[in-house]
Subunit: 243 residues, 2 copies
C-alpha cells in the first residue's frame, strides 16, 4: 500500500441502515489495513449492533459518529463521493475506479481524503454531493449497476492498495489445455496402476491418489499431451496384466 494511505483515508458511511453492512465495511477496512471509519446519521440500532459484533473490533471501536456530512469531511483536503449512476450529477466529473488518474489523486494527497458511501437504498443525496470534489464509479454492468455496500467498499479499498508494480508482461497460453475430467481419467488410471503394481497399498491409496492428482496439475498438460499420456499408461497397464 502507498505510504500513509491507511491513515490518510477516511471511509465515511452516510445514513447506513443495515448493521451487517457496517460490519462488512469495517471488516474490509481491516483486511486492507485502513483505520478510520466515520458514520453520518446511521440508523442508531444498526450502529450499536455493528459495534457489538465480532471481528474488525478495532476499526469499529475507533469509528466516529457525525450528524452532518460537513462535519464528517471537515478536516479533509479531498472529498470523493461514490456513485453507481453514470450521469446523475452534471456538476461533478466522474472517474472510473480503474482509471489511474483518480487513484493517483487519492494516493498522492498529503492531507486526509474522505471516501463517501451513501445509504443502501438511495446512495448519496444531491446535498451530500455538494461536498464532493469529484465522483468515483465502480465499473459495473448496465444490467445491474448497483453494488452491495460492503462489496463496493471492499472493491474501492482493494483498488487503492493494489500494487501496479506487481504487474509483469502478459504471458500467453496458446495450446488447448486439458480439461479437469481428462486429468482425472489420467489420475485414476495411474493410481490404479500404482496400486496393482504394489507401488502403493490399499490403506495408502487415498493419499497416493491426492499426490497423483496434484502431480497431474503441476504437469500443466495440454489436451493432446493428456490424451497421449493416457494412451501410453493404459497400454502399460494392459501389458502388465498380460504378463
Amino acid at each position: 500500500m502507498p505510504a500513509g494511505l491507511e491513515t490518510s483515508v477516511r471511509v465515511i458511511l452516510v445514513r447506513t441502515r443495515n448493521p451487517l453492512n457496517i460490519g462488512a465495511v469495517a471488516r474490509a477496512m481491516s483486511n486492507f489495513g485502513f483505520l478510520h471509519l466515520r458514520v453520518v446519521r446511521p440508523y442508531e440500532v444498526a450502529f450499536r449492533e455493528a459495534r457489538s459484533a465480532v471481528g474488525a473490533a478495532e476499526v469499529l471501536a475507533r469509528a466516529e459518529k457525525f450528524n452532518t456530512v460537513a462535519e464528517a469531511v471537515a478536516d479533509c483536503t479531498l472529498v470523493v463521493g461514490t456513485t453507481a449512476v453514470r450521469q446523475r450529477e452534471l456538476h461533478h466529473s466522474i472517474r472510473r475506479l480503474d482509471e489511474a488518474e483518480g487513484r493517483d489523486l487519492i494516493t498522492s494527497q498529503a492531507g486526509p481524503v474522505a471516501l463517501l458511501f451513501g445509504s443502501e437504498k438511495v446512495g448519496l443525496s444531491n446535498h451530500d454531493l455538494t461536498y464532493c470534489h469529484w465522483l468515483l464509479r465502480v465499473p459495473t454492468c448496465e444490467a445491474n449497476i448497483s453494488m452491495n455496500l460492503g462489496q463496493a467498499v471492499a472493491v474501492c479499498l482493494y483498488e487503492l492498495v493494489r500494487n501496479p508494480n506487481m504487474q509483469s508482461e502478459p504471458q500467453r497460453v496458446e495450446a488447448v489445455r486439458a480439461q479437469a475430467k481428462d486429468l482425472d481419467r489420467l489420475t485414476t488410471v495411474l493410481t490404479e496402476a500404482l496400486l496393482s503394481s504394489g507401488y502403493t497399498t490399499a490403506e495408502a491409496l487415498p493419499s497416493s491418489e491426492e499426490k497423483v492428482r496434484r502431480l497431474m496439475r503441476r504437469l500443466n498438460l495440454s489436451a493432446a499431451d493428456c490424451e497421449l499420456l493416457l494412451g501410453m499408461l493404459r497400454q502399460i497397464v494392459r501389458m502388465r496384466g498380460a504378463t
Copy 2:
C-alpha cells in the same frame, strides 16, 4: 471486460453455509457481468433461501449444484483456488490477485476457468486444493487476512474486469490543498454576500448556497489560495457595509 470472460469463468462455492453470502456472491457476479455460478454441497437451507431472495435473480436461477469439486470443475481447463493463507500448501504456487501474470492466465484461457472459494469457516480443504492448478491470494494485511466471502468474490471479479488501458500517467498534486472546513468558510462568506447584495433572496438561499459550495470544489483551491480568496471577499463585504 476481456471478450468471453463472462461466459468462461465459473465461480464455484464449496460448502457455503450462509444464504446471505450466496446471495452476495450472485449480486457481485451480476454487477460485473459474470453468468456461471456453481455450488458444491452447500448447506441446503442456505441455497434454497438464497435462490428465493430478491436481486441477482438470473445468476441464482441458473446456478448449478454439484456433490463434489471434481464434478463441478470437470469441464474446466484451468482451476484456480482462492486462499487467505500465505504458505499453507507447498504443493501449489500462489499468485497475488494484483499480479498481472495470474490475471493474464485466467483471461487468456480458451477453455472454461473455475474460481474456487471455500467455506466461510475453513476455506478450501487440502482435498479441494488437489483439483487446483494454482492458488490466488487477495493481498490482505497480516493482522486480518481472512475476507468475507461475498467481498472476496467481488474483489476477485473486479480485478478480472479491470481495464488496465484506462490507466494514464500519474498526475501529481503537490500544493497543500484547502481543507473542507476552509472551503465552507469561503462558501458561507460568499453566500452571505450574495444575499446582502441582493444577488439572491432568502427563499433561494439554500439553493444558492449549494451552488456556491459546488463552485468552491470545482475551483480546486490550494490552502493558500483559499485563504487569499477569503481575505479578499471579507474585505469586499466590509467595504460594501461601509458605503
